[in-house]
Amino acid sequence: MKPAKFDYYAPSSLDEALDKLAELGYDGKVLAGGQSLVAAMNFRMARPTALVDLNNVPELSYIKPTEDGGLAIGTMTRVFTVENNAEVAKRFPLLVEVAKYIAHPQIRRRGTFGGAIAHADPAGQLPSIAVLMNMKALIRRKGEERWVDGQDLIIGPFMTVIEPDEMLAELVLNAWPARTGYKYVQVSRQSGGYAQSAVASIVTLDENDKCKDVRMVLMSVGEVPILSQKAGEILIGNTPTREVIAEVAEVVTSEEIDPATDLHATADYRRSITRVLAVRSLTEAFERAK
């Protein structure tokens, strides 16, 4: 288990990195934290021709407040940094809650926020959260930049709209309105292991304790994170009673997800726990919104 050869570039600025990616085109691959990529390279499942290492580009690592009360997170910010950032904890405590589930501490120290999202692992927590929060993704290419909504970023398992000569540069998290609650729950066989199913919700209540807005994402039960449409249809404008939440869970798990049977869980089991997790996630999120 030793990686195959590759060409290696370690630009020290963003411009230099973009130049290199443009030059390499299809052959180039960004090396961020490398916590998934290098493992795949060691197995020789991944054999990139050339790596553009972003670890020497300090300008890609930051957590900055935005004007409207949100945060902008540079792609190379380590997950551990995000997890332990006071501003993140204050504005988006969901991220702190989620981070504990991402692999193990040593992986989070090195793994990056943007790298995990761009990896788009169907069992990855951060890609799902990017969809859930509809983070605005800044995608850069030499001389160009574009913004993509988080919910449009992922197009397949391990696949995003980011082209080989592009990179995910920044993620902007919009501030949550008042009376917003959240909850991430997952079932995995062991701590730090891949989720068999996970559900995260962000809900907002109006002044009458009726559901004003709800976003719910289901993870590891399809090829990509699934952003529930039904949750909104059923909940918005209604009081989130136990019965309504149970109905959402029922509808979502029977109509919106497509879990697979694998070595660790059957599709049926996944469906059954997703229903449970949906209830737990929504119930706690509404509780927190109060």
Partner: protein, 151 residues
């Protein structure tokens, strides 16, 4: 690994069937297909570069179309191998004429995947395969649209 599914084409059965027997169309529909050459009436040689997230694997192999019953059914046998392992698959494809210029394609099959892909890539295989099927059908839809409208 068992595969099963269906897809609705908006074209008459003969057209869909013809497309399925056209290496250019098939080659164009499979993501990462780098080369597809006809060896004889029913055999093709292919080179495929799969690139999914961190995984990049090159396969070379053959595609055979057997038991061809125009325009009703065809059996596809795919064999490929590369550094990351091998894939051997049999797919039984049926074309149902639903009238109304539409055709329902139904497929069942079995794939035998071996080597590194099978032994350490288990977690990704299923979802990646599903998504590849999706892509193939989407591309075929496009090809069909062009052909069907042109002709």
């Amino acid at each position: 690994m068992k595969v099963e599914g269906d897809h609705l084409f908006k074209a008459p059965r003969e057209v869909v069937f013809e497309m399925f027997n056209d290496p250019d169309a098939l080659g164009a529909a499979v993501p990462g297909m780098q080369k597809m050459v006809k060896i004889d009436e029913s055999h093709y040689e292919a080179v495929l570069g799969i690139r999914v997230g961190p995984v990049s694997a090159n396969f070379s192999g053959t595609l055979a179309l057997t038991d061809v019953v125009p325009p009703e059914s065809v059996t596809l046998i795919v064999e490929g191998k590369g550094g990351a392992g091998f894939v051997k698959g049999v797919g039984y494809v049926k074309f149902e004429d639903l009238g109304d210029q539409t055709t329902l394609l139904k497929y069942t099959g079995e794939a035998n995947i071996g080597g590194t892909l099978a032994s350490v890539g288990q977690r990704m295989i299923d979802s990646v395969a599903k998504s590849m099927f999706k892509t193939v059908f989407e591309k075929l839809d496009k090809i069909l649209e062009e052909r069907w409208q042109k002709s």
